[in-house]
Symmetry: C2
Subunit: 433 residues, 2 copies
């Protein structure tokens, strides 16, 4: 059973703080190993990647075979049944339609002093997307990472996906093809991140790397950050459901379990203004845990990190939610829009009882790569902007320089940066003749 | 003298690559020290901060004295001469006017299936700004970091600025006041970053930390990343000037020196389509280096990392520029707009001969915190967006769930996430009666 808390209990604050600070993930310290792998790939290129793939994935490649050929991809895609193909296409279409709206506008204007100012957005030239192999090899994540990159205008999008023992997931290749991915390499781990960041004889380096991965991948991404851009380092998934009594407890139980089944470290929280409803949901969870395929994982997550919190009213729910800053927030209440308006920190909000979080994982449209571990306080889900960058533009007219130059001269002097000041002074002298 | 390169020389490509990959910064490995400092501040709070400040800044504080009082700030601000105050106010006004235009729009729409989708931007609640002490204590950087935060709507903005031996820079406090900073603490180093990230008895934790600093500060920011958001880790400053022969060599020389004088590791590059003009600029630099106050620093930077590159035409200049991906790019050519249109990777572009880069450091309006070390390939200068985050919104109507739900069920099944599928199935069953 999960923890049951109530804001009316005298020890609530202490228990809630404990819940917030619970360490859900014990990342092994793989940093030294990862540093060695990266150094090896930088030094020996393809040869290092081939050897590491042999060691970790029990797969013998030669450099020419690292990339899937177009024929190999076509053969794998042909294995996918129609229903799955159509579902992937529906998802891709909806994700694309949502993300196209994120394309930012350039701006330019001339201010009263005569300075023409603005900015311009451009796409990253080349991006790499890491896709985990094995159990967590999700075609939906390929769509969620690759489509924003392609919408942004990334010219070259490469995927690395390990195929341990040679096992390939055809859905991942189909998702890549639907999303317009340009290159797919059957490599993984820190060696894949190193190859994407620094390049090898076969793999050209990219400018930005995104996508989820295990502790080795996360440590490698941290290490190459700066050489290339990276997305966030994702932690275990989380959901907070705020629900009133007018909900089917079983639906809410399933929503909670749909995060819990991801990972024993996942966290599913329910906040309700009706203690009895909270108990009914907990009972519904127990019942579902009798039969769910992933009941071992979901049960451990719910037992160790789950919680049912009873509040006096929905304002209190909103306050607690902002302290949790959840990755996913489901609002199953009579007026979800009103409650949503009171929320400041959340990765994604799902409004009303017809919007289970799982819709957002696949076909809602918004991205499912979202900030975890309270980082919604300061960061956002993946978007088109993650694959673009902004260049600021300024052009001073002679009048604008006359108007603004003297202030720059004063500030340069106050910061003891003489050449800064002189570069303005020389021009003002000419202007003032 | 700097390196002279020409794209017409047979060894150009090798030399240009060497220039691109030159390691300009030898960061000392302070990671272990920083890890200990952070652990100490997390464990002992104010006491650790006070002891570390005594050790590193030779300054005895008690916790109550860590923050400047309003009276202390007012007394410091009163010391600033009128010319400097007015210059700071002019700069602040122009920076604010530019950044207000960066405020993003929320969006919401209903798609043909009946799903209401969108997103909403909100400000980070609390931000911390690190300001270096001593030589690199720049009031302009206070404005450039603090104004975007306040424009974004950050409720609480705290500054930490070390005051070694008790020496205070009144201009920094005045810039903070003009920018609307809420709290100023006289602490620095890794201990200041730790205090901002984790909080102490006296300092409430923040959600985002920005601002430049030395190797200790940079290592501390890397370590607290994830617990809080951080801005980029800035490297030494750089400028690339693309200039044709119709420029005053002395102006261009001063523009190159205005980066070189920052730091011996700074890099100043000139690309020109006229070899003779390139030599004239190099001569003008030598002449200026005879008298510049910071000639030791500027001269070392120019000698070790400067370069004059002659190209056949401006198209070639644009290509090289994109490979350099400069932090600052000055286009001193007849048609700077046309050349700008050919550039993809640059932090900030300054168009035409009346826009020396120093204008952008102070009063242009755009931010002067910009991506260094070729990171303009994948990142942008500091902006209002760095202090905001986006929450995605989805609401499915019953019709939308009927239309999109089945695809989600198929994909959940293909990813072996049964509860995901069931959370949709349960609702569809009800809808389909």
């Amino acid at each position: 059973m999960p923890v049951f808390l109530s804001t009316s209990a005298p020890d609530f604050e202490a228990k809630f703080r404990a819940l917030l600070s619970a360490k859900r993930e014990d990342s092994p310290d793989v940093d030294d190993t990862v540093a060695r792998i990266i150094a090896d790939v930088r030094c020996r290129g393809d040869r290092a990647v081939v050897e590491l793939t042999e060691r970790f994935d029990r797969l013998t490649l030669d450099p020419a075979g690292m990339a899937f050929t177009a024929e190999e991809i076509a053969a794998q895609c042909a294995k996918v049944p129609d229903a799955e193909r159509q579902a992937l296409e529906t998802a891709a279409e909806r994700i694309r339609a949502y993300h196209v709206r994120q394309l930012p506008d350039d701006q330019q204007w001339t201010d009263p002093e005569g300075a023409t100012l603005g900015w311009r957005w451009t796409a990253v030239s080349a991006a790499g997307l890491y896709v985990p192999g094995g159990l967590a090899s999700y075609p939906s994540s390929v769509l969620m990472n690759a489509i924003p990159a392609k919408v942004a205008g990334v010219d070259r999008l490469a995927i690395t996906v390990p195929t341990p023992d040679g096992v390939v997931n055809p859905l991942v290749l189909l998702a890549a093809r639907i999303a317009g991915v340009d290159e797919v390499y059957r490599i993984g781990g820190a060696q894949a991140i190193a190859a994407l960041a620094y390049g090898t004889e076969t793999i050209a380096p990219v400018d930005k790397i995104t996508g989820p991965g295990n502790a080795f991948v996360a440590a490698a991404k941290r290490r190459v950050f700066g050489k290339v851009g990276i997305d966030m380092i994702a932690g275990p998934s989380e959901i907070l459901v705020i629900a009133d009594r007018d909900n089917d407890p079983d639906w809410i139980a399933l929503d909670l379990m749909s995060q819990a089944e991801h990972d024993e470290s996942a966290q599913s929280l329910l906040i309700t203004d009706d203690a009895e409803f909270g108990r009914a949901v907990a009972e519904a969870v127990e019942k579902r845990l009798e039969t769910l395929e992933r009941r071992a994982i979901a049960g451990a997550s719910w037992r160790d990190f789950g919680a049912v919190i009873t509040v006096a009213d929905l304002d209190e729910a909103a306050e607690l939610s902002d302290r949790i800053a959840p990755e996913h927030l489901e609002l199953c209440v009579a007026d979800p829009e009103a409650l949503s308006g009171k929320i400041r920190h959340a990765g994604a909000i799902f409004l009303g009882q017809w919007t289970p979080e799982a819709i957002g994982d696949y076909v809602g449209g918004p991205n499912h790569v979202l900030p975890t571990a309270r980082s919604a306080r300061f960061s956002s889900g993946l978007s088109v902007l993650d694959f673009m960058k902004r260049t600021t533009l300024s052009k001073m007219s002679p009048d604008a320089l006359r108007a603004c130059g003297p202030a720059a001269e004063v500030l340069a002097k106050s910061e003891s940066l003489e050449a800064h000041g002189l570069s303005v002074t020389a021009r003002l002298r000419k202007l003032n003749g």
